[in-house]
Subunit: 238 residues, 2 copies
DNA sequence: AGCTTGCTTGAACAGTGTGCAATTAAAATT
DNA sequence: AATTTTAATTGCACACTGTTCAAGCAAGCT
């Protein structure tokens, strides 16, 4: 009849180790994904990581795509969305939210790729909770139900697009083995030469060359985010 | 029968067909990608499509990733960026540009996935030309060199993020074999039930349920774009 | 005639996701 | 304590992937 198996020894494992669990699998998958990216991630490597046969994973997880969805939802657990009570806190909270999502993608670059394949429509409880808190944020800020959804999707779309491309570029650099400093739009493969036919691109690179090589990416992100929030605020006050 | 010389007999092909070319390969790859997406795309299927051995492709293309980059650049050839001369034309042109990019992604959903893996940093002449024209657009609108870059990246990031997710959702629906109308945030897999614990999500779905099921996605996209352009315009006039 | 160059081929390798029957060991039942 | 049931794991196998490589073929040049 009812088996109230508690938590500890669970069911059976033949030797020293306690049985595999979905949590453990997702944890190991996250470790591999963060370390080597999604391209080189395979079920067999995952099996090796958890010290079991590759196919053992399939008892706890339906398919590789399902596992990836679980992983995506797991990292969404790191997504911090502040809860606010007063309308004036809205903008600051929106900035914090956007930054949190961006740095989450920077920590787990494979998320961007996976999201593009899997979409962010209901994939798990964490994402769901986060979506609810984001909606709350915009509603407190003063947006109506539907418009809060549209506003948050605007910001999230922007962050996903920009941070996703940052991640792709970094992954690409890593793959081709280039140093990050070499980049910054200065010297790059065949670009500088080809840019000569495109006057505005040429001007742009010239302008970037005269700047401190600070982190242009950060600044561009910040610029875009501020513009978007300006536009949204205009709706609130307008 | 026999041979029909397309353009030039070029070098030698042993039988009826003229030799493979990179253009032809990219064309065939696009056909397969548009039809079945990037997941089921393989070099062997491509070989079959062009009527040659799978490995023949490798004479014209270094690697599969390279081929995908060529394909991405090829569809960027469809990206229409109007050329303007007067500042007031800026906003309208920016909208047209954004819409063009979005509908391009809708026609070729695999582009979003591929972009997330490959980045959009120098991948080909078409993208380069388009980038230059986009920069021109914002510069005519009144932005400085660097700021034009930041502004265009903001808009492009938004479009890529939002349209990319639209594409992922559609691909996912297609894969699981659901109809598109069933969606629209109304009834969906395990969502409605799980949403009960999240009051703002519940409100949102309730609100959506009372609307005409027009194309909410279009409206959300349009809303976000307008907010962003509002924010950018504020910078110009501010 | 031969040689060279440009392109194509088939076989082969290492690796992939996953289905399946057989196997284990613990829990439940007798 | 013996037996049955069941959760979990294993190894094998299949079809398929991207890519390498020696070998082959068809034309152009000398």
């Amino acid at each position: 009849m009812a088996e109230e198996v508690g938590t500890r020894p669970r069911r059976g494992r033949r030797r020293e180790q306690t049985a595999l669990s979905q949590e453990q699998i997702v944890g190991a998958a996250l470790k591999l994904l963060d370390a080597d990216g999604v391209d080189t991630f395979s079920m067999r490597k995952l099996g090796a990581e958890v010290g079991a046969a590759a196919t053992a994973v399939y008892w706890h997880v339906a398919t590789k795509d399902d596992l990836l969805e679980l992983c995506v939802d797991a990292v969404y657990g790191e997504f911090e969305v502040p809860e606010i009570t007063e309308p004036p806190q809205w903008r600051e909270a929106a900035v914090a939210t956007a930054n949190s999502l961006r740095s989450l993608i920077q920590r787990h670059p494979w998320v961007a790729t996976t999201l593009a394949e899997v979409g962010l429509t209901y994939i798990g409880p964490n994402l769901m909770a986060v979506s609810d808190r984001m909606l709350a944020l915009y509603r407190v800020g003063g947006f109506g139900v539907i418009e809060a959804d549209q506003a948050s999707k605007t910001v999230v779309g922007f962050v996903l697009g920009v941070a996703g491309n940052e991640a792709a570029t970094l992954t690409r650099l890593k793959r081709t083995g280039q140093a990050v400093e070499e980049w910054t739009a200065k010297s790059w493969p065949a670009g500088e030469a080809a840019a000569q036919q495109h006057p505005h691109l040429r001007d742009l690179y010239a302008a970037y060359r005269e700047r401190e090589p600070e982190s242009d990416a950060d600044e561009t992100f910040r610029y875009g985010l501020e513009r978007i929030l300006d536009g949204l605020e205009l709706r609130l006050r307008g």
